[in-house]
């Protein structure tokens, strides 16, 4: 059985797209920053995870999750997202407030519990932030989301998720009354300050590049 710390390393590696065979690889430096530990700690842990055949790497080399490491990581993500869904849909938590608690709940060890919870939630496919929930078998439904940052001007899109789930971003969205499911149009870019103009329910808003990059959307026909 893995410790919570080991699980967190695996989860972050998956989050950074470190699956086997993936060209882009994250540096252990970035991992250290993300986990808020020193590089030496990361190095120690990576050796341990390599020993357990969950991570693959050579000194000074690239870093990958093994298939086994990826499977473990996916199950942690699954637990995290199911718990977030529970907190929002059933306990009526605000979507900005669930992340921290889910970080704890994702380490509860009981596959049976997650199956029961999945059923109780009626087998959700996405969490409250629009992120896909992998199946029991570790499969993600294929994903047609694109970033609003990659959409051409004057396209109607539906918001299906957020890339970042920090409270500062989510509370900002709440303030703007922009929810998942909203139909918006990216209507103009202001050269002056790199800001964007979006239309939402008759209103026009001005938001930053960072803002639009962090919205997942799908084009509407």
């Amino acid at each position: 059985m893995l410790s919570q710390t080991e699980e967190n390393y695996l989860k972050h590696l998956l989050h950074f797209g470190m699956q086997e065979g993936n060209a882009k690889g994250i540096s252990s430096r970035q991992l250290a920053d993300k986990l808020e530990v020193k590089a030496s700690s990361v190095n120690d842990m990576l050796k341990k995870l390599k020993e357990k055949n969950l991570v693959q790497f050579e000194p000074y080399g690239k870093l990958f999750l093994t298939t086994e490491g990826e499977q473990k990581a996916v199950q942690i993500i699954r637990k995290h997202r199911l718990w977030e869904t529970f907190l929002v849909n059933k306990l009526k938590f605000n979507w900005a407030d669930v992340h921290e608690i889910a970080e704890q709940l994702e380490h509860i060890q009981s596959a049976h519990l997650m199956d029961k919870l999945d059923e109780f939630l009626d087998f959700p496919t996405v969490d409250p932030h629009g992120d896909p929930i992998p199946t029991r078998e570790g499969l993600f439904k294929d994903d047609q989301r694109i970033s609003l940052g990659d959409v051409e001007l004057n396209t109607l899109v539906k918001i299906v998720g957020v890339k970042e789930d920090s409270p500062s971003f989510l509370n900002y969205l709440d303030k703007l009354k922009i929810q998942i499911g909203a139909i918006i149009e990216l209507s103009a870019k202001e050269e002056f300050d790199e800001s964007y103009q979006i239309k939402h329910e008759e209103k026009t808003l001005h938001v930053s590049q960072k803002f639009i990059e962090n919205l997942w959307v799908i084009p509407t026909s």
Copy 2:
């Protein structure tokens, strides 16, 4: 903030009735047995908890929870019982299967979560095993349960809980179709083997002394 280990020590101390001023005191030996660690480990931890003003004791002396230690312990019990209630009432777990998972869930740190869960469960006062759930403020409703072992023969009683919650006992009860809420009568004692005869829905059963001692009941008028 307390570690899970520290929380477990406090919980067990409360479970053994180690509140301040309580005459009967548990030995650190028994605590070690219960926690399945060595006596020296208990000793180390007790020193640490004393340092934090959660436990009170002198070398070779009696052992008590301080008021602060008791409060912490009660909150852990509250979390444990609310989670058990959730697992049984909402996720439809068997009452014999929830203890282990609740042992993990009781360490999740979020008072807000427990308030939300309490509300979601409609403010239950007892858990699936009939044990009282303390309030947010740490108070137990007063408790009129007595052990079936202390009831006189030929008394009608209602089963309101189980003293022990081991799967072996709970599954046995399931097999006998005896549930919480059942009305039974302790009808005779067999001198031959110290067994007892109980009547339940027209049927007569023979059970051990240990069995009846582990049922909480209240007499029916």
